[in-house]
């Protein structure tokens, strides 16, 4: 439903979007993932005709956005909650959009009820909280009952209840057969919402595949094995051809084997097992690994451990029970980790 063909946007000498080539299909939630400054919003704006591409094309249902006869009936978009005139009531804001596309007024009442703004429909939107503003934007997106929905970072600033509400909404819309295209830099949220993943970094598409495949392809998993007889167990595991990694405590990390296989080896040799855990790296780690080189804006500090590989190794070196936080590529050491700049208080930087 969205087709991007060598889509490029250049601002001066900066390449914001670099020959992006992708398709967004109906019936599923496509997550558009990337660090800040990767080009997500720029791409979305080009799809919606707000920005003009430097090269390449992008079409919605086969035509450019500005050729659509009744745009709101085919595409509904929430780009930000602030595209609203504060002096206008919620109802009137939606009425303006509805009248411009010949959508009847009763539909305005319908979407207001749908998003739960019935009580404040006749109030000026200036006084709305962020969540209410987002819901008004979503009402505008749903106004024309479109087949394609686009959300640009819809959960920004929402409370947990709001986040769950939007997540369920997007899944329901996709289940109805619509195409849902949602951008985010929150990998954990994407893992719970998206069926298909489009990863962008520094303007380039880095991945375009089903969610499960992405995790399988880019993630690491290993089995953490702890035993009082680790000295005897470890060589037996290595003899099976699996990579065995020694840990500082009485445990090893075994790569390439399942927990049941390792349990069998221990059982056959009559050795005690104290821990047998499958550790699967999350979407977050997979994503960090993929986009490590693409983070556009680094808030660097002197002496920062750089790569995400270092972060992962450091994570693996954590003693159980220690509450150390991982340094984040590009963002440096968290202040609570004994960083000299920390004044002993944990919390946001």
């Amino acid at each position: 439903m969205i087709k991007a063909d060598a889509l490029t946007k250049r601002y001066g000498d900066r390449l914001a979007v670099d020959h992006a080539q992708f398709t967004v299909e109906p019936g599923r939630v496509t997550g558009f993932l990337g660090p800040n400054g990767a080009g997500k919003s720029t791409t979305m704006r080009m799809i919606l005709g707000l920005d003009r591409p430097t090269h390449g094309t992008v079409t919605v249902n086969g035509v450019r956005y500005d050729r659509l006869a009744s745009p709101l009936r085919e595409v509904g978009a929430l780009l930000d909650a602030k595209a609203i005139h504060g002096g206008r009531t919620a109802y009137n804001h939606l009425a303006v959009l509805a009248k411009a596309n010949g959508i009847p007024s009763r539909r305005v009442d319908e979407v207001i009820d749908l998003v739960g703004l019935h009580d404040v429909a006749r109030k000026r939107s200036r006084g709305f909280s962020l969540g209410m503003g987002q819901r008004l934007g979503i009402a505008g997106a749903l106004l024309g009952d479109p087949g394609l929905l686009m959300f640009d970072e819809p959960v920004n600033g929402l409370d947990p209840e709001g986040i769950i509400w939007i997540r369920n909404l997007m899944k329901a819309l996709a289940a109805e057969g619509r195409a849902v295209f949602v951008s985010s830099h929150l990998m954990s949220e994407m893992a719970l919402t998206a069926d298909h993943l489009l990863v962008i970094g520094r303007g380039r598409i880095l991945a375009d595949q089903p969610m499960a495949q992405f995790i399988a392809q880019h993630s690491l998993s290993y089995v953490r094995v702890a035993s009082p007889q680790i000295g005897e167990l470890a060589p037996r595991l290595a003899a099976k051809g699996w990579r065995v990694e020694q840990r500082p405590d009485y445990s090893v990390h075994v790569h390439g084997a399942s927990p049941s296989q390792i349990g069998d080896v221990a059982g056959e040799s009559g050795l005690w097992l104290h821990e047998l855990t499958l550790v699967q790296s999350s979407l977050e780690e997979a994503f960090m690994r993929l986009t490590a080189d693409s983070v556009e804006y680094h808030a660097g500090m002197p002496g920062t451990p750089g790569s995400p590989a270092a972060a992962t190794v450091q994570a693996e070196q954590q003693q159980p029970g220690q509450q150390q936080q991982q340094p984040v590529p590009g963002w440096g050491e968290p202040l609570s980790n004994g960083n000299p700049l920390s004044n002993g208080k944990a919390g946001r930087r």
């Binding site: 745009p71 005139h85 009137n92 009248k99 909404l169």
Partner: protein, 274 residues
């Protein structure tokens, strides 16, 4: 919530044609308070200043010298119309700018362009929907202020709509306001920033005129005559002083200024990122 989503769509089948865009723009205009406030300010200031000026003229009649009195009796209409318009026109300037710039200052432009991505058509609809009420209110106001001014001056000065060119001048005031609104809208659309655009329009309407009057000689007179609002106000003159531009020529020059600015604004709107 899910069952509401599953209801059949009740969204009709209309396209975003020009008529619907106009309906949308009209809804936009009538659902913000600045529209009502601006028209209220226009009406109050035009009627108020006309009444005040004509009242003061009558009060000061005995202190005026013979030359001034003769001038006032000969050509009262521009004074009647101009006194109210001088400051009242700013209300239309502000509203015209706001109609264009509030889209950018509130971020509404993104919603607008998503609903109607045909940018030229959208701007055209906005212009039409804004100008019609300005013309209607302007004409009614023009005749009302003329009647009030005429009534107050009647003890000293006689004027009537049947006098030569008077009807043209009174009708012209409404037309002038209509074009002025579009002029301000064009500048607002070009500058896309409320404070900057309002300052620019006020500078062009109120400041540039006396400045140009300082220019010496014939060049000064010609530059002055072709300034947008000076040219536009010729339509309200009965006996134009320097005759560089006749009434309709002057109005035509003003309309041309506005058309050029609108064309430039349209071109930029289509070419620029939103």
């Amino acid at each position: 919530m899910t069952d509401v989503l599953n209801r059949p769509a009740t969204t009709g089948t209309g396209h975003a044609n020009f008529g619907r865009l106009m309906t949308g723009e009209w809804t936009k205009l009538r659902t913000v308070r600045s529209t009502v406030y601006s028209f209220a300010a226009l009406i109050v200031s035009v009627i108020g200043f006309t009444a005040l000026f004509t009242f003061l003229t009558v009060q000061q009649w005995s202190q005026m010298n013979a030359g001034d009195r003769a001038q006032a009796q000969l050509d009262p209409v521009p004074q009647i119309l101009g006194s109210g318009l001088f400051l009242g026109q700013l209300a239309i300037c502000v509203l015209g700018v706001l109609v264009a710039t509030s889209e950018y200052s509130t971020g509404m432009i993104r919603s607008t362009l998503l609903a109607s991505p045909h940018r030229l058509r959208t701007l055209a609809a906005k212009c039409v929907v804004f100008t019609i009420p300005v013309l209607v209110v302007g004409e009614v106001l023009s005749f009302a202020s003329y009647s009030i001014g005429k009534a107050i001056l009647s003890s000293k000065i006689h004027t009537s709509l049947s006098d030569p060119h008077v009807t043209r001048a009174v009708v012209g005031e409404g037309l002038y306001l209509g074009v002025l609104g579009l002029f301000a809208l064009a500048i607002g659309q070009l500058i896309r920033h409320t404070a900057g655009a309002i300052t620019t329009v006020i500078a062009l309407v109120l400041v540039l005129v006396p400045l140009a009057g300082l220019l010496p000689g014939s060049i000064g007179k010609h530059v002055s005559a072709y300034l947008p609002t000076n040219a536009g106000q010729q339509i309200m003159q009965i006996f134009p002083k320097d005759q560089i531009l006749t009434a309709w020529q002057g109005f035509g020059v003003f309309a041309l200024w506005t058309a050029v600015l609108l064309a430039l604004a349209s071109w930029l709107l289509v070419r620029q990122d939103a």
